[in-house]
Subunit: 483 residues, 4 copies
């Protein structure tokens, strides 16, 4: 599938998308949406370039065919590492989110877990899912992974919410399929995916069986409505020119996806009531998604570091020792993020299904660092770039016959640097270091506290206590109450 | 002067302002500018409220009349502290910059320094300046302090720039006044001030006498052009509604002010060629401006903390221990900022001119903390508020007859909280924690490195070395090469 | 009282002190204790120097006599600020804790609170306490403030502990006085104080009346036993020479003070069962003690910065830009600490008793910063000083006839710097940046979480929420469940 | 070689060691040195345990024999990862440095680089070195890697120092070998190694050929003198009991090793004047040594986390939410360290010599994080453990017939926990979080600035700039002056 095929397939999708209160007829022609489509399109385009074949494609373990890596089930540690390298590679092209990892992680998580559900309950989910997977691999469709429910009052479980639909659930079981209702929030790449692979949003209790749900649906299915989320400076996308900063947008483009009694045939249902398996599916998706963040954000940071270094160069400060120190610090933080993604991949292991899984403790560590370092990297970019990043005139001022000459005269930097080049770089920094871009680093793949919770579970505190006691000679018998 | 008087005086100003490539006929009717005018207007309005009289007004030491504190020369430590308290007070009303401290600090800095220039050079600047000051106090005009020059290639001094106008300078000395050319960048409150008080941008050398310039000019003087800087999400100001977040804008509104051969009569010239005094004037303005940041940003942070606590409450997470911990941390950082402003005021002292001056080392400490903690406070706000702060639908979606019911249904939070209230608070957080607002904290009153430089100068390192040597008994005679 | 008088008074005290398992006959002759005595002695010595009279002494509001400021009840904001300045001054002499502020804070806290207890319960504590205070002011004795109880299992209140003595309590009420039992832990300056002023360790419940206790006792009273705490590198104090680093020790010297059925006459009892006032007393002592930490630790840091700058100079790295940056950062952190102490003092206010009290929110902010920045300052000192700070040979090696010449040859630094001077400075850094010194910054005047708890109580979160709601136009009536 | 063989071989070494100004006759019987010997001995002991065979041993690529991994040349990425896992494993046993990685890294660095020197200069170093390596592998001797020279005035190169010996150098070239003079500082494991493998301390210039030196010498060679460095609380090692905290000492034990005209036969010389290759050798050793720090310090941190969790449990605070949060944070920081070591290993590659080399950018990232996080981990340990960690009585007090009962009574914690167990754990925390242990994390394998310097060299800033320019459409031709 070429980039063009991908875009034309979206044109044909006729899914129900709303933007700023209005129905969007053709997402591909909508300036508010197109940057995100162009970004995702690179996952198709780069896969066709010979020099990237090794990273961007893989061999299907089911069909033996060469497939886009975004549809691949990881068969080795090497696959896990290549995933991370691929993400950093594409981010160097986009300087923004390209969205498609969500579906990849959903495919892998459901693959592993449907296998385990079958093992436990003798269900037939795994076989169904393999068929679905072959369809995805062959058609190379873009799948959005749908996990986060709106959740209403977060202090209450699904069963105690005023509105039962605040968690997506099964409304009815029919002979040929199920009817579902609810919504998935913050759906990255939602408006430009072909299908959604739904997963539960958290571990579920016995009285929450209807919320233990995994299934796949095309996004143009009847009853599905997508509402696009408003981003920082989204109006600039409607302008011709460079004030928007990054032509691929500040983040991936998030949508609220509503399921108003949507029918799903049984062949596309992969978890339906096995509530005790919901937690495992959530944890696996989260781990695989957290694995990514040092790859993609590492690559995005590389671009921001480059832009920051250029901003310094363009205004004559690149030689100052404190500027060099700050750029070195940005590199340090970026490589710390990347190290996390590589490490959890290198320590990955095979699950019962045969698919490989990254080390969950290290994957959580990776994401937690992202929630901190991306902000600090942005802070350093602002420091180096200067106040001008927040006070520059509009592009229309630069181009004005009345005041354009003043903007050119007074925004001049180092000799030989066109003012326009300087402004473009500063607008890129503005785009990459502001609101939406930061928040995505904080909450994408799970808010910081979700990683902290995993540390307690995965950190093996009892073993650590034993090492300490052995070292100073505290015997088990010394302590009645101890472990 | 009431709020209304202030606004109508701006209507009458007829200064030359550009916004987005177009000349603005009336700044007070322009949706892109009005929020900033409304914010500054509060410095007039609150001064008329009896309960704030003590903080918002003062008695002129020149005329004995009751004046707006924003035109007052500090006569005591108590005045310095009240300034800081006033700033925090107003910030509680605006949650944003109200701009007028820049002029206040410029008035005080020029007051002190013109006195010292006269002492050294037997010039008559101080007398002139006092007359100008009485005019400002009596008319209660808003004065913007003009320090930062565009500076072109920052590795070069004014005399080495390709274009001599990249630093504002005297082009001609005439019998009745001087002609100046150049520009001042990042001028907070520029478009809604009446006058500008120009100061040099840095210490100057002997061959840079024409750049050693301080003078006052009305902003409607011939040859002055203002170009408004583009802000984060500035298009939202043109909408009716609440997506803009804060009705007073994210920051004070910055403009590039251009001086195209502007005439200034001698009575309004306060430094003209005494190059060796430029550095002192810069340092004093910087110190007094850095004094402020724990006051105003402290107050702004209070509002952001309140919004963050409400966001948590509205979505049912206010009781979680990690949420409470994060809000406590936001309070800690905020009070650390405020402590700096109070401390440098409490340690202030009288200058030769009689005006009081805050402790410069502590004032620099205050600003440096602002360049760090405001980012961390924003990060914590994002953490607590959740990803929704970056993915919410448009207000038009909420109000749409087609999808409005879905937005209401799926953005519902805790029982009894209207969805609109929740969205308003989240939009406020978005506004206060994004791009422009952060950058202003970084670079307003001087970029971080300018404070670091002052630490070396003011930190009294030689005395610190002596204390260490005394403690361990190192005699002066032990070390040939030492101090 | 001269330094010599103070020392000889300790000789005469004959209190029961244990060090390393052995009874100490004369604390003033014990090498393990003497550094701390010498440090406290400076509070006597400096008070007699004319140049420090203003800071080190005050006029008693009770007797009108000139007294040591360490026995003064603060009568103004100026007194609060002078206290902080005095602490920084003495720390420049000692580079370590001089212990006597604990008693000063206890005197002020009991003064204020005994007044309030009398107001509420018509007791006569305040009159008694004033008599006691006059005794302290006239005799200029050193008083240790005794707050922290051992507390056993910290998840349990006093009444649920296995051993009721883990919180200090009244065992018996007699006609002439009371009998108390228990212990006070971490008593800074314990072994070289004359008396102890006991306070409760936390707020108490109705069934904990016997724990609501404040009283004063001489430390040589029958039944009192002091056990000195082991410090980092304490054996080096027993050596002649400079490996110990700081001749005044790394911290103040802490002792465990045991009360084995100690009799206290009624005249020295200032709280006895009014359980509901215990919390207020604790909070006041804590606030006044937290006020100090930017003063004393600020001064200690000044010395460490000086030592670090010398270490760099002595090894030829002082000119490197990253070294200068790190020293500037140490100054920044130090002044941030100091700003807190000054600010809470400047915002202090008068209590009903007439005594002045620092702003509690800012005092807590001060201490919280100390728990962080002192560690970072130490880290930077290590960074600049180099690995040599941890791998230097013994002084005996330097002086050895066999290998001394190698130590001199290979530890040589910049030209003209004697190796001994270099080692002395590095040993000083080692002393000031290691174990005990850091822990004291963490837990002295209350562990970090105790300040966090106060933020919630003092941070006025409801007011902050109101500001946010007003700004975006959320009416009270909008939200049923809100405040 | 068993642990016992190792120890007895040291007894037989008869090398010249000084401790505290006195010659040590038998290092294995010296209480000040024995802890470090016991720690290194575990590298022998664990290698004989079947369950650790895979990690602790390897197959020699030269002889095909099973060898201790500390003598192995890495033949694959897997070898690089196993090295890191081995380090974390041993650290769980020791909670301290076990020293032997220095020699391992020196062997690998000299192996790779002697190959490259031969390639360039047709010298025969590589062949010689392989013979030496076989000797090391077969005899399983402990080799200390000798890099850091004393360096005198750090602002001067070797040739400008007052004393030419401040950098180790060749004094004379003879027919059978060379004579060297100088010293190596901070030599971890120096006093309990059998041999030293000397490398240059930095890149060298043409006029510094005599400083471009690599060779191996037994530590009992005539002219070699070792002086042991003084550590935090080193006197406690001479006590029987547990106040010393960790029986393996706080760090590895560092020595200053002096070369007073030491003869080295040509067979053991691996670089001799090829000054332009010195920098490469230094960089490779540094990279491989920095690779380790997330492994060993990760393991050490695990023990400290365990001890901290026990301290909380023993005093009844383990259930508090802020305590759990802090322990989770310690885990986060520890896994971040480990992630670095794993990542640079996973991204390792084959050098021309055939030996594998970790990714240098990620290895530097790892070490830089260690210089920060180990301090923060220590700070958190202090926070959780409480002030008691710095004020506990001596062990002799606990055992005293006079006051022991008070110590037991008042240091009691949660029910069922013997006071002695509590004290042991707190002493372990004290040992692991104080002076020497921290400094080692800062400067071992290179001070922080050495990593910052590498970021600039390895961070590929020009490529990052190109990505940024491409994204916003800045053409090469736009910028005359750009790259």
């Amino acid at each position: 599938m070429t980039k063009e095929d991908y875009i034309s397939s979206l044109k044909d999708l006729h899914h129900v998308v709303y933007y700023n209160g209005k129905r969007v007829e053709d997402v591909t022609e909508h300036p508010g949406l197109r940057p995100h489509i162009d970004s995702a399109a690179l996952t198709y385009e780069l896969a066709l370039r010979p020099e990237y074949e090794d990273l961007m494609t893989a061999t299907s373990h089911l069909t033996g065919k060469r497939i886009n890596r975004f549809t691949h089930i990881h068969q080795s540690v090497d696959d896990l590492i290549k995933k991370v390298q691929m993400l950093r590679l594409i981010a160097h092209e986009t300087g923004s989110c390209f969205q498609r990892c969500v579906g990849l992680d959903a495919l892998n998580a459901v693959y592993m877990t449907s296998y385990d559900v079958d093992e436990k309950y003798k269900t037939g989910y795994f076989g169904r899912f393999k068929k679905y997977l072959i369809h995805v691999q062959e058609s190379n469709v873009m799948v959005v992974g749908g996990m986060t429910d709106p959740k209403g009052d977060r202090s209450l479980p699904p069963s105690k919410q005023g509105d039962p639909d605040l968690f997506t659930h099964i409304v009815e079981r029919q002979s040929d399929g199920i009817i579902i209702r609810g919504a998935k929030a913050h759906m990255t790449g939602g408006i430009n995916s072909h299908e959604i692979l739904i997963m539960p949003t958290q571990a579920m209790m016995e009285n929450e069986k209807d919320y233990a749900l995994s299934c796949a649906v095309p996004l143009n299915a009847p009853g599905i409505i997508l509402i696009f989320g408003r981003q920082t400076n989204e109006e600039r996308k409607f302008e011709e020119g460079f004030d928007a900063g990054n032509p691929f947008g500040p983040v991936g483009g998030e949508a609220l996806i509503i399921f108003e009694d949507v029918f799903v045939p049984w062949e596309q249902v992969f978890l339906c009531g096995e509530y005790d398996m919901a937690g495992l599916l959530v944890e696996r998706f989260a781990t695989m998604h957290r694995q990514n963040y040092g790859g993609c954000k590492g690559g995005v940071s590389d671009v921001l570091i480059g832009a920051t270094a250029l901003a310094a160069e363009y205004q004559g400060t690149a030689g100052a020792s404190h500027i060099k120190e700050k750029i070195a610090e940005m590199i340090h933080l970026t490589e710390t993020l990347y190290a996390g993604s590589v490490a959890c991949s290198a320590m990955g292991y095979k699950t019962s299904s045969g698919a490989y899984y990254p080390d969950p403790l290290l994957a959580n560590t990776t994401k937690q660092n992202v929630t901190r370092h991306v902000y600090e990297i942005a802070r350093l970019a602002h420091d180096v770039a200067g106040g001008i990043v927040a006070t520059m005139p509009f592009q229309a001022d630069l181009e004005s016959s009345e005041v354009g000459r003043y903007v050119k005269k007074y925004l001049a930097g180092a000799k030989g640097v066109p003012v326009e080049a300087r402004i473009k770089i500063l607008r890129l920094i503005e785009n990459m270091s502001g609101g939406t871009a930061l928040v995505e680093s904080m909450h994408g793949a799970g808010s910081p506290q979700t990683q902290k919770v995993m540390y307690v579970r995965l950190g093996n505190l009892e073993q650590k206590k034993r090492w300490a006691k052995r070292l100073v000679g505290i015997e088990k018998s010394d302590i009645e109450r101890s472990d």
